[in-house]
Each structure stands twice: as structure tokens, then as C-alpha cells.
């Protein structure tokens, strides 16, 4: 690239945009779909039902311990497909770049996307770039959309939790929220908390290999486990009771929360899986999760009940009970 910073002309549709695509995006994302150079990626119709999702990423700062906006944008959309029981086929990437962004910064983000896509085995099959005037966006916004295929017999739905089901969680919570907030505030802990950003489609596949009878799956991102459980309780018209002592929270995240006054239940995760399943499958599904790195700390955190529909309650460490509310408009910075 001739320039060290992105100029408006890099989004003009002319020769400078071609230079940007040729020198930054194509070498990183290279795959047969992109190489054709068409306006769309073309797939043969797969068997099974199709899942389709989209998500935009506006996290600030762009880089934080454990990940950056690039791998987050790849993982987040893969996970939105995965928790519907879908195996991702490919993702689109839309970049909105602020005039003046360093080309090196863009390269770092693009390379993180390349590595995340390669590690997940999900190609980035089509893309778009726009450059907006300085001040019109904050450095770099990314949208990714994704298409996936759902295997036969899988019927995952937020309205499907049933009394008697159990709630499984794939691992420790709150790390992404703490990583982003602490980086943003310039707080550097002795043991830095790293974002848990990672793809969950293989973990989901391992659970579905045990049985396709999974009632609900979610990745508790913004709003955290507390808000996600409330959404499920409302959608399914059931009560959910969780056990505070069973919640996996690392000492680093707990320490940061104690210091900053956050509740780990409401911090964002980018690599955690919540699954609500019939009790008879719980042991085998937990074992399948624990067999993978991303589910090593999987555990049973609660149960679904019919006694207080729409409400999530927690048995506290001292043996009391309290309601877990949905997160209500707290002043939190952009985290994803």
C-alpha cells in the first residue's frame, strides 16, 4: 500500500479501492469463493434447513486482552449460527472505516479475522468496504453475516424450555466484559483478564452428537447470563432457578468485579454456551462438552421450574434466594 492511512478515496470504488482489496483483504481472506471476483458467493443448495444471521461490531477499543474487533466479528456470527444448531457454511464481511485509520491497524484486524476464520474452518466468502469522513464513525465498524445448515432432528428454540429441564453452562463467565472494560478504562490487573472470544460451533456439534434433543441454546453476550436466562424464562413461560455456588467464575474476574462493582452475571461473554436440555441427557452432554477445550469447565448451574413463570431466581451462597433481573439500561461502554 502506498499510503499509511486510509483515505476517502480507498472507498471510492475506483483504483485505490481495488488496491486496498488487492493488497489487504484478498491475500488474507483468500478462498475459492472470493477468487471468482463476483458480487456474490455462490453455494450449491445444501441438505437440511438454512440458518441466516447478522451482527455488527462497534467495540471500543479495537484491541483488548485476548482478542480484537476482527476475531470477535468472526466468532460472534459463527456463534449466532451455532446456537441455533447450525454448522456455518460461510460469512460475509462489511467494513465501515473512518478516514485516517492507520493501514497497519486495519491489517492487524484483517489478519485476526483471517486467523479466526481459518481456525474455525469457516470461509469469509464475500465482502464490502466503505470509507466515511473523519468523525462519521469511530475508527472501524464491522458487520458480518453468516449462513449455516441445521442438521436433521434439531429444533432449538428460545420458547422450548420445559419444567424439569436442566441448565448447562460451558465454562467461566464474565471474562470478555472485564477484558474490554478494563482495557477501556486503562486498568491493568496484575493477572490480566483475557476475552473468552472463540467459536462454539464444534462444541455445539459435540452436544448434538449426544442427542438432538436440545431445547434451548444461547451464547450469553451483551447482558450476560442473567439477561439471557430472563429472555428464555419469558419466551418459554417458565421459571429458572440457578445456584450461585455452582456458577463458574474465575478468581480474576471475581476480583475485578468486586473492585469495580460489576456483577459477573451481567457481563458479556463471547465464548460461553448456555444449553437447556432434558435432565436425562445432562450427564452425557456435560461429558461431551468437557471433552473439548472450550467446554472444559462445563457444569450444571440450575433447573427449569413451573412455579414462577417468567422469573429467574438464584439460591445465594448463604442459602437465601433472590430474583435475577434482566439488565436494565446501565451506563456501559460499547463492548462488542
Amino acid at each position: 500500500m502506498k499510503h499509511s492511512h486510509i483515505l476517502l478515496a480507498h472507498g471510492s470504488g475506483g483504483s485505490m479501492m481495488h488496491e486496498l482489496i488487492r493488497e489487504v483483504f484478498l491475500p488474507a481472506f483468500d478462498n475459492p469463493y472470493l477468487r471468482r471476483g463476483n458480487d456474490q458467493a455462490v453455494f450449491d443448495p445444501p441438505g437440511g434447513r438454512i440458518a441466516f444471521t447478522t451482527d455488527s461490531y462497534v467495540v471500543q477499543p479495537l484491541f483488548f486482552p485476548g482478542a480484537c474487533i476482527g476475531d470477535l466479528a468472526v466468532h460472534g456470527t459463527i456463534n449466532d449460527l451455532a446456537v441455533g444448531g447450525a454448522m456455518p457454511l460461510g460469512l460475509s464481511v462489511g467494513m465501515i472505516i473512518e478516514e485516517g485509520l492507520e493501514v497497519d491497524t486495519l491489517r492487524r484486524v484483517v489478519n485476526a479475522m483471517r486467523d479466526a476464520a481459518a481456525a474455525a474452518g469457516v470461509p469469509l466468502v464475500t465482502g464490502d468496504t466503505k470509507v466515511v469522513e473523519r468523525g462519521s464513525c469511530d475508527k472501524l465498524f464491522i458487520n458480518t453475516s453468516g449462513v449455516g445448515v441445521i442438521r436433521d432432528g434439531v429444533n432449538i428454540d428460545g420458547a422450548s424450555a420445559r419444567p424439569g429441564d436442566v441448565v448447562l453452562l460451558s465454562g467461566a463467565i464474565g471474562a470478555h466484559g472485564v477484558a474490554v472494560l478494563s482495557e477501556r478504562k486503562g486498568m491493568h490487573f496484575a493477572t490480566p483478564v483475557r476475552s473468552d472470544s472463540r467459536p462454539l460451533h464444534r462444541l455445539v456439534a459435540a452436544v448434538l452428537d449426544v442427542s438432538t434433543e436440545v431445547h434451548v441454546m444461547r451464547d450469553p453476550t451483551r447482558g450476560g447470563v442473567g439477561t439471557t436466562l430472563n429472555e428464555i424464562a419469558a419466551q418459554s413461560g417458565v421459571g429458572i432457578e440457578i445456584d450461585e455456588a455452582a456458577l463458574p467464575i474465575s478468581p480474576e474476574v471475581q476480583g475485578a468485579c468486586d473492585l469495580l462493582g460489576f456483577d459477573p452475571l451481567f457481563l458479556a461473554n463471547e465464548g460461553a454456551l448456555l444449553a437447556i436440555v432434558p435432565e436425562q441427557h445432562a450427564a452425557a452432554m456435560l461429558a461431551a462438552m468437557r471433552g473439548r477445550e472450550e467446554g472444559r469447565e462445563a457444569c450444571l448451574i440450575g433447573r427449569v421450574t413451573d412455579s414462577y413463570p417468567g422469573i429467574v431466581r438464584m439460591r445465594t451462597g448463604i442459602g437465601g434466594t433472590r430474583v435475577i433481573p434482566m439488565l436494565t439500561g446501565e451506563v456501559l461502554p460499547r463492548i462488542c
Binding site: 478504562k185 439460591r315 451462597g317 448463604i318 442459602g319 434466594t321 430474583v323 439500561g329
Partner: protein, 366 residues
């Protein structure tokens, strides 16, 4: 087990709870004077494990909540003055004033910045030399030393674009006012942890000595609070009100003399207006004459119309412990954290917010 985990341990909690249940006190009401305690009590489910004869009450301990609408309106007026940048704690933003909240003022395009401490506000003044940075200083004795330090530093640095609008309050005159009103029968007081770090545990001796009330200074972990309740019940049972300090890992009898000394060097006591109480003499921290140049009210003299409160809001009575949040007609229906009519529903330390979020079986909107 980490130090804090030990204070959340169910096995250690069980014997304290057994003692609490076995205490023979008759029906008692215990009041916490600290918003942090209110939240910790709800969060850990302490109310749900108390025996029926022990009632927990929340007092005027949320600094956002006791800020009067008149003071809030003044902050909004300051934010709208030419060239002023208002710095405030985030919790204050959504509190509805007489006409509008600071969030609404911000949305109209006036510069309102959220800060986490007074020193952040001081940094804003350095970063924006062309702006007049005004810090809306709310809080009790806990936050006062940082405010004093900021003003002290600003004077030492000759900073001419920094000032504060102090509506900071003192907890002890507030506690006295509440008890002197005699509206609510209290049998024991959970003394604030962080306020006492600054003013010292001994500052609360007036409760047993003058009001015959036991007081137990407590930390914020579940076991801290259970131990404080047990200490209060024990003193009530014996008929021997005294001062118990269970938060000795942080609170000393004499407090933090250096911090409190700085507060008293920069501020003097004056009348303050508390929501729910009206004017309480000697309960506010006002800048001393030698620091008058840093007083935003004197520097900008904002014009403010007479303040008013939403007629249905009962925050004042909630703050006095006279009613509990669900006793208020608009609680959870018209007044919710997303659409608050009063501060107790929006502040993270507010009683209504704590009730709404955590209370077992609380009414929930659909």
C-alpha cells in the same frame, strides 16, 4: 479460599444464621444507613433468611437519592451555560429533575461527561483548557476526600477552568434528623462501612449514648452483614446498646485522619437540602471562603426556576424508612428503572431499584 470468598461461604454463614434465629429479642427493626449495604443485603438474599421477627429497613444512604431536585436542576442549569462542561457520576444521569434529567440535557447536545472520580474531572479540565469544567459533587464522607484533593490540587496548579458544585452531605446529621423525626421505630443500626473508614467507628458512639440504639459497623460481604445483624440482636437481647465494629479490616476507631483533615481544610459545614427531609442544618459540605474561586455556583450564578417533584413519587418516604418501595402506587408499574419517576428507582444504590431487581416475588412488569 480467597479472603473475600471466605466472607461468602455458606458453611460459615450457617452457624451465624442459627445464632440469629435463636436470639430472643421480640420483633425488631434494623436499619442500614448505607446504599451499598442495601444492595448487598438484597444481592445476597439476607432478607429472605431472616426470621420473621427481624425486619430490615433501608435508610437515607443513597447519595444520588438524597440529592434534592433543586440541586439537580442547578446542575442541569450549569450544564447549559455557555462554555461549561459538566462532569458527573453516571448514576446521576437518569435521575429525573423537576423538568429534565441530565441524560436529557446531554441528548440536547450540552456537554455532560460521565466520570468515575473527582480526579477524572480534574483531568478533563487539563484536557479541555478552552472549557469550564464543573464537577457535580454528590456523595457522603467517602467521596469528600477525593473532592477536597481535587480542589486542593486545582488551586496548587493555578487551574482556572475547574470548579465544583458541591451538594455533598454528612451522614451523621442525616441519621440524627431521621431519628429525631420519630416517624419510624428503629431498634438497631447497621453503620456504614466506607463512610466510617473516613470518619472512624467512634463517630457513631452517639447512637448508643444519646439514642440508646446499638450500632454495628459492617463490611459489604454477606458474612459481614450477618455478623452485624447478630451483633445488634445480641446487644438488644442483653439490653446493652453499644458500638460494634465488625469491619476492623478497614475501619479504625479514629478513621482516616489525614483524609478527614483535608476535607475539613477545604470544606465547612452548612445547611443542605435532602430529598425527603428538607433542610438539615450543618449537614452539607460547602467550600470554605479561601476556596470560593472553585465554587461553580459563585462563578456562574445559574438561574434556576422553583423545583418540583412528581406528585406520585414517594422517594422521600422511602428514604425516611416510612414506606417500603412496594407500598408506593407507581412502583413497578409507572415507575421502573427504564422510566423512573424518582431517584430511588434509578440509582444503583436506590432502595426501589434494589427491591425491583432482587426482591423475591417482587411485582414485575410485563
Amino acid at each position: 479460599m480467597s479472603v473475600l470468598a471466605a466472607f461468602r461461604d455458606s458453611e460459615r454463614a450457617a452457624p451465624i444464621l442459627e445464632r440469629i434465629r435463636a436470639r430472643n429479642t421480640g420483633p425488631v427493626s434494623l436499619m442500614e444507613f448505607c446504599g451499598g449495604h442495601t444492595v448487598a443485603i438484597f444481592r445476597s438474599g439476607i432478607r429472605s433468611v431472616m426470621p420473621e421477627h427481624v425486619r430490615m429497613l433501608s435508610g437515607p444512604g443513597c447519595p444520588v437519592c438524597v440529592t434534592s431536585n433543586a440541586d439537580l436542576d442547578r446542575a442541569a442549569a450549569l450544564a447549559k451555560m455557555p462554555n461549561v462542561l459538566l462532569a458527573t457520576y453516571g448514576d446521576m444521569l437518569k435521575v429525573p429533575g423537576s423538568k429534565e434529567s441530565l441524560a436529557e440535557v446531554k441528548a440536547q447536545g450540552y456537554p455532560v461527561h460521565i466520570v468515575y472520580s473527582t480526579l477524572d474531572a480534574l483531568r478533563l479540565a487539563h484536557e479541555h483548557p478552552d472549557k469550564q469544567v464543573v464537577f457535580f459533587a454528590i456523595g457522603f464522607e467517602t467521596t469528600a476526600p477525593a473532592a477536597a484533593a481535587a480542589v486542593f490540587q486545582a488551586r496548587a496548579q493555578g487551574l482556572s477552568n475547574f470548579s465544583i458544585c458541591s451538594v455533598m452531605k454528612l451522614t451523621i446529621p442525616g441519621a440524627r434528623a431521621l431519628l429525631d423525626m420519630g416517624e419510624v421505630r428503629v431498634h438497631g443500626v447497621i453503620g456504614p462501612g466506607h463512610v466510617s473508614t473516613i470518619i472512624g467507628a467512634d463517630a457513631w458512639r452517639f447512637l448508643p449514648e444519646q439514642y440508646g440504639l446499638p450500632v454495628a459497623i459492617s463490611g459489604f460481604e454477606p458474612l459481614d452483614l450477618l455478623a452485624a445483624v447478630d451483633a445488634l440482636l445480641e446487644m438488644i437481647e442483653r439490653g446493652a446498646p453499644g458500638l460494634s465494629n465488625g469491619y476492623t479490616r478497614i475501619v479504625k476507631a479514629e478513621g482516616n485522619r489525614m483524609a478527614w483533615g483535608l476535607v475539613n481544610a477545604v470544606f465547612e459545614r452548612g445547611t443542605a437540602t435532602w430529598r425527603g427531609f428538607g433542610e438539615i442544618p450543618e449537614s452539607g459540605l460547602l467550600l470554605r471562603e479561601e476556596y470560593a474561586a472553585f465554587d461553580a455556583d459563585r462563578r456562574f450564578q445559574p438561574e434556576v426556576a422553583a423545583s418540583s417533584e412528581h406528585p406520585a413519587c414517594r422517594c422521600g418516604e422511602v428514604l425516611r424508612g416510612v414506606v417500603e418501595p412496594p407500598d408506593c402506587k407507581v412502583y413497578g408499574t409507572v415507575c421502573t428503572p427504564d422510566h423512573p419517576l424518582g431517584p430511588c428507582m434509578v440509582s444503583s444504590e436506590g432502595s426501589c431499584a434494589a427491591y425491583y431487581h432482587f426482591h423475591q416475588g417482587a411485582a414485575r412488569p410485563h
